[in-house]
């Protein structure tokens, strides 16, 4: 079974702090994603990566950056956390487009981040 893990389930940070959210997958997937989940808004894509050191902006990249130095690991960085970044953050991974079952994304358990 695919396993996607995230470094923390709950995180509390102060405004202005630099925050790192880590995600690791064990199935050698090329694609990795970071979403934020907010009530009434569903999941919105922040960034995704289709290969090591490759990244593309999603729908809401402002205030975030990402890093992918190894295939299995995808980090989301909040350079200067703000209260409007309080949210649930979900990581996901998938096979590249065109692969069998590439449509399915496998999700981590989520990190609930509170910025005070």
């Amino acid at each position: 079974d695919v396993k996607v893990t995230q470094s923390s389930r709950y995180l509390v940070k102060r405004t202005g702090e630099k925050v790192f959210l880590e995600c690791v997958q064990d199935m050698d997937h090329e694609n990795m994603f970071w979403y934020r989940q907010d009530p009434g808004l569903g999941l919105r894509l922040i960034y995704f990566s289709y290969d090591v050191k490759m990244k593309e902006k999603g729908d809401i990249p402002e205030g975030y950056s990402v890093s992918r130095e190894k295939k299995e690991r995808f980090s989301l960085i909040l350079e200067s956390a703000s209260t409007n970044q309080t949210s649930m953050y979900l990581c996901a991974s998938s096979l590249p487009a065109g692969s069998a079952s590439s449509y399915e994304q496998y999700f981590g358990p989520g990190t609930r981040l509170t910025v005070t």
Binding site: N31, G42, R44, L45, F48, D59, A97, Y103, E104, P109
Partner: protein, 114 residues
């Protein structure tokens, strides 16, 4: 950008009964996939069922089935013989064929009552 709309924020159903969740979407694409994902309380989101737009036959996975109406851009999920373990938030999602990005609806929270 694709828009996915789930108009029912919450639904409640008695155990063993049937519940139907609605989803509509807006796209100019002719080839795409539609999905229902399930997010149980405090647990990871998992794929429940998918539908390819070029297939006329509605997808079925055990007690879960969809009603795909391409012309109406409608994609509803029916959960039959509801079980307590079906309690979760359900998300409808869209993906263009050949792409890898998902567009999600706002979600519907389903509560199954004993």
């Amino acid at each position: 950008a694709q828009t996915v709309t789930q108009s029912q924020p919450e639904m409640s159903v008695q155990e063993a009964e049937t519940v139907t969740l609605s989803c509509t979407y807006d796209t100019s694409e002719s080839n795409y996939y539609l999905f229902w994902y399930k997010q149980p309380p405090s647990r990871q989101m998992i794929l429940v069922i998918r539908q390819e737009a070029y297939k006329q036959q509605n997808a079925t996975e055990n007690r879960f089935s969809v009603n795909f109406q391409k012309a109406a851009k409608s994609f509803s999920l029916k959960i039959s013989d509801s079980q307590l373990g079906d309690t979760a938030m359900y998300f409808c999602a869209f993906m263009k064929a050949g792409d890898y990005k998902l567009s999600f609806g706002a979600g519907t929270t389903v509560t199954v009552r004993a």
